[in-house]
Symmetry: D2
Subunit: 110 residues, 4 copies
């Protein structure tokens, strides 16, 4: 289950590997999420300034799309790492991981 090589947490000097698959892209995720925070702030400012509803809706759709991209990326990483590792390790952990993943997918789809 170890993911060879040190995956130091972004700001830490730890010698222990990071547990989760997305770690290899951590900086990319953090950049995207910083941008997403900016988008959320921008939408609040638009309401504050009483901008045109339709323009605000356009920004909300853009933000939702950005969140979907992050979610799909995390899910793909999760399948590639946690689920595959669990499947290889055998036992019921793989089933549990897949049940969790399926529930997460259902929440995204609905």
């Amino acid at each position: 289950m170890t993911e060879s090589g040190p995956h130091a947490p972004a700001d830490a000097t730890a010698d222990v590997p990071a547990p989760h698959g997305y770690i290899t892209d951590k900086d990319r995720y953090l950049n995207r999420l910083k941008r997403i925070e900016g988008q959320a702030r921008g939408i609040r400012t638009m309401v504050e300034d009483e901008r045109y509803c339709i323009d605000i809706l356009t920004q909300i759709s853009a933000l939702t799309s950005a969140l979907e991209t992050v979610a799909l990326g995390l899910l793909d990483d999760h399948l590639r790492h946690c689920v595959v590792d669990a499947a290889r390790a055998g036992g019921i952990e793989a089933e549990e991981k897949i049940a969790e993943a399926s529930q997460a997918i259902a929440r995204l789809v609905r």
Copy 2:
């Protein structure tokens, strides 16, 4: 940010035009959007802390739901005010407003 002052209907000859339908609920929208910003920040912190993917996905779904609620509220306000006012005023403006609204709905649905 103040909400005092008259909100003249669309076809009035007031000197302070009412900006947009959502204005009556502006504070509620602002509160929701502040909470949404907090949710976005929380998701970034979860990635920073390398929390479990599935837990992050759960938070992303919650944030997406919150955004949908805001979007559906703005859209309802838009129909109730801008579209109805334009329909009553006559002319082609109503058609344009509806075309815009339909495009915004399509972006939300897809």
Copy 3:
């Protein structure tokens, strides 16, 4: 464009207007829905024949898209006709129509 009078069926040679907005495109809707039925039947056959899951999922996504297109079209027609007419007629009917439309939009979005 008047909507008074009896509601003649689409294929009638009546001089009376059809009731609902989509009627002008009725044949187009019917063709699309016939195609949608064919897509649904095709998906059942794929399961019957035990085709590869991913290929079935692709067809389900295509069918869902086709349904969304029909739904967005009907909604646009509804706004253009029922809502605008109700707004012009005045009274509370416009509000009711918009409440209905907003609920329908929410069901499509969520």
Copy 4:
């Protein structure tokens, strides 16, 4: 259409290998898809009969939900069987299966 005969588990040494994960629930899927076809037909009849747009939209949402349920079921089966089997077999097939699954998920989410 018959479902008689052994559906060997993936790792068994049966002479009739089970093709795809969903096979265990094949009858349930077929019943659901038969119902879905009926829903599609019902929607066409509603348009034929020029029923109220909003009522048609309600039925389209119900059909979309039913399709999502089927899709999420197939995806779960796919992860439980194809992906897990490929992960256990080793090699790059697991990666390919996951890439496919991720693309299918993205099509469902967007």
